[in-house]
């Protein structure tokens, strides 16, 4: 591990909590601008040599994600219920965070995503609002992220995409059989399939080698450093400045404030569970849509009795979910979908909401195969397939290489009643309160998923599938939610939001929050590009403010 070590007794310019998709970006921007930075990360500091193609470790156990054995999560459908232990949410828990084990999908938001309330009006039972910023405000930062991190894709191929100032830095990845079948079928139906934009290198880039098509992207860390996680892209740049220390296995329990109400640093448990205080002039919390509100709610003080930066009462509110659903199809010839990255083609034709559908919502559909061998044999077969015996064996043996899937990524409407709170009873292995998730779908979310499912089946049939199937709908199917959004909403009004347009809290001038928690709407899932664009923008603002002496 390269880089500098700062004594905890000294104040650094910036403390960044969480070394994931956003925290890695923020650390690199601040350090390269000349500031000293300490990054505290709950999880370990792993390298590509630590990873393997071990399905049991990474998909049947929490290999790279939060482990409920040591950090329990509790879940309830509504405030009236008693929350029960359940891994309702999941997040990447190591240096690089979720950008290490994610599938790599890298969608920009559409222009309309920032002003859905104005475009479509009120949605009964939902708290739909416009973002306080527009696509044009974020565009330069999307471009910066794509070039800094290394994104492959084809500009102009998606007719629904908002204008972009530059093409992708890398061409798209090689198309798979699922992509070819999907592309042909979608065109036959008058749709507009396009090559998937992904955070995976199709060619060598900035000293990293191109992807070798091993197929172990989703849930796995990349052994080739070809997945453009913050771990292999921006974090090394931050460390090379000599001004950034990544401190793994450090679990923050409280952000401290002074009498003037400014953040002074954070108290954390180090790997030996000793309590340490790191002083800093300003603090960025990039801990994800669950851990960020949890930390703020734990950081109560006399001055901030409802939790830090929570004068609006909205910290932890408006939790949005990883909505979608999948349909599968069996084809005549081998697809060998286990080879290559997961997704190579998708459509955004159904992205925009359409009042004619009778509900609010929309989504994208991608072609993929989301299974590894044992997971497929256990959870991927048609509902009418036998579950054991010679017929069962024959089905999983002959289906594995001939099956593909269409996955929808759909709207999750913000609702005040869906929350992250501190569980009053259940504690984690450090004695801190467990995250308590309260969540239920908005009826339109369910209607959107069902409507999209019919479209998915239609496309699979147009592709010539011999058989199609989908899993029955249940909230449990979309657990754990991996996209955690909305819990520290961005806005201009301090009474109706937690952070301002630069991800800076309304209440504490030297405290920034940037991750999925800022999201006012969920768009159509795939939040990573927007999380990272927001991180570049927030860092840019913080740098200017610090240079003016505006951060203390």
């Amino acid at each position: 591990m390269a880089g500098v070590t700062f004594p905890t007794t000294e104040s650094v310019d910036f403390l960044v909590i969480g070394a994931g998709a956003a925290g890695g970006v923020v650390a690199k921007e601040l350090a390269t601008a000349g500031f000293t930075v300490v990054v505290l990360e709950q999880g370990p500091y792993l390298r590509e040599t630590d990873y393997s193609h071990d399905e049991i470790k990474y998909t049947f156990q929490p290999g790279l994600t939060n482990d409920p054995k040591v950090q329990p999560i509790t879940y309830r459908k509504s405030e009236a219920d008693q929350a029960q232990p359940m891994k309702a949410i999941e997040y990447g828990r190591q240096v690089g965070g979720g950008s290490v084990h994610f599938t790599g999908n890298y969608w920009r938001f559409h222009d309309s995503d920032f002003r859905e309330r104005s475009l479509f009006g009120e949605v009964t039972g939902a708290d739909l609002a416009d973002w306080p910023i527009a696509y044009a405000d974020l565009e330069p930062y999307y471009t910066k992220a794509e070039y800094d991190l290394g994104i492959s894709g084809l500009a102009g191929a998606n007719p629904f995409e908002a204008p972009r100032s530059k093409p992708y830095p890398l061409p798209p990845m090689p198309v798979k059989s699922s992509g070819v079948l999907f592309d042909r079928a979608a065109r036959k139906l008058g749709l507009h399939p396009f090559p998937a934009p992904v955070a995976i290198l199709s060619q060598p880039y900035q000293g990293r080698a191109a992807c070798v098509n091993c197929g172990f992207c989703e849930s796995f860390g990349c052994e080739m450093r070809a997945k453009s996680s913050t771990l292999v892209s921006v974090i090394p740049v931050a460390e090379e400045t000599g001004r950034c220390e990544i401190r793994p296995n450090c679990y923050v329990r409280k952000i401290e404030t002074d009498n003037a109400g400014r953040a002074t640093g954070a108290v954390y448990f180090d790997r030996n569970r000793r309590g340490i205080f790191q002083r800093a002039k300003a603090v960025f919390v990039c801990a994800n849509g669950a851990e960020t509100p949890k930390l703020l709610l734990m950081s109560k003080s006399k001055r901030f009795p409802a939790g830090l930066a929570n004068s609006s009462g909205l910290v932890g509110k408006y939790l949005m979910w990883d909505n979608g659903g999948d349909a599968q199809g069996l084809f005549e010839h081998p697809l060998n979908e286990y080879k290559g990255i997961q997704v190579t083609r998708l459509i955004h034709d159904y992205y925009a909401a359409d009042p004619k559908r009778g509900f609010y919502g929309g989504g994208g559909i991608d072609a993929r195969f989301d299974f590894y061998p044992a997971g497929f044999a256990l959870h991927g077969l048609p509902p009418d397939a036998p579950r054991w015996g010679s017929e069962y064996k024959k089905v999983f043996e002959t289906y594995f290489n001939r099956t593909m899937m269409l996955m929808a990524h759909t709207t999750s409407l913000a609702q005040l009643k869906n929350t992250i709170t501190l569980d009053p009873e259940v504690k984690d292995a450090w004695g801190l309160p467990a995250v308590r998730v309260t969540f239920d779908y908005h009826p339109d979310d369910v209607a959107t998923m069902k409507w999209m499912m019919a479209k998915q089946i239609e496309i699979l049939e147009a592709a010539g599938a011999q058989k199609t199937w989908s899993q029955p709908y249940d909230l449990a199917d979309n657990m754990p939610s991996r996209h955690l959004m909305g819990t520290c909403r961005m806005g201009n009004d301090p009474a109706a939001s937690v952070v301002n347009t630069y991800s800076r809290t309304h209440d504490v001038p030297n405290l920034f929050l940037v991750d999925g928690s800022n999201f006012v709407t969920s768009a159509r899932q795939q939040p990573t590009a927007t999380i990272q664009a927001l991180a570049y923008r927030a860092a840019d603002h913080a740098i200017q403010a610090a240079k003016r002496g505006d951060l203390g």
Binding site: S202, N213, P373, A377, L378
Partner: protein, 188 residues
């Protein structure tokens, strides 16, 4: 296992789940190196009974099944490593299965001594038990999981599903992308 991986595990010792994974890997390494695998968690009789059921879940018809893949060795190892919490479920679950066997075939003494058809009848009568789902899951993991856990011997499970175990692949990957030479063509 290289030094980096060991370092990783040593940094994670505060986290309860990781020593179990470490133990599983060490165990797998030890057993893989020994000429005749032995059982560490199960007694030989119980192991044979479990194997008889696993061999009906994934039978050895038209190619190797759970038996040839060494699924029972995978289960034995799992029960002292990552699935250590499932030991009690196996103890009570197997007792339930034996009860059922006695009920259906009063003159029998073991599952292994039943005919294949009798074993199938027995499994039909237990397939709604939660223990059966656990055993089914472990059987599939032992057939298709990474061979370092003691199952999927000689990668028989991966061969059965047509998976080539390679560090990387070159396009074209399948029949349909081969039709366009696996190029980065768009539209395809």
């Amino acid at each position: 296992m290289n030094s980096t991986r060991r370092h990783w595990f040593s940094t994670c010792l505060a986290i309860a789940a990781w020593p179990e994974v470490l133990a599983a890997r060490q165990h797998a390494h030890t057993v893989a190196g020994s000429p005749t695998p032995h059982f560490e968690t199960l007694d030989a009789n119980t192991a044979a009974e479990i194997e008889a059921i696993a061999a009906q879940i994934i039978p050895s018809t038209e190619g190797p099944g759970a038996r040839e893949a060494g699924v029972v060795y995978f289960i034995d190892r799992a029960l002292s490593t990552f699935a250590i919490d499932d030991r009690e479920a196996y103890r009570t679950g197997m007792a339930q299965v034996q009860e059922k066997r006695k009920e259906l075939f009063p003159n029998s003494t073991t599952i292994t001594s039943l005919t294949g058809q009798q074993q199938i009848t027995l499994i039909r009568s237990i397939e709604t038990f939660s223990f059966f789902e656990l055993l089914r899951t472990h059987t599939v993991l032992g057939f298709l999981g990474n061979p370092s856990y003691g199952g999927n011997r000689e990668k028989v499970g991966w061969h059965a599903i047509g998976l080539e175990d390679r560090m990387g692949h070159q396009p074209p990957f399948g029949y349909y992308d081969a039709q366009i030479d696996g190029e980065k063509k768009w539209p395809a």
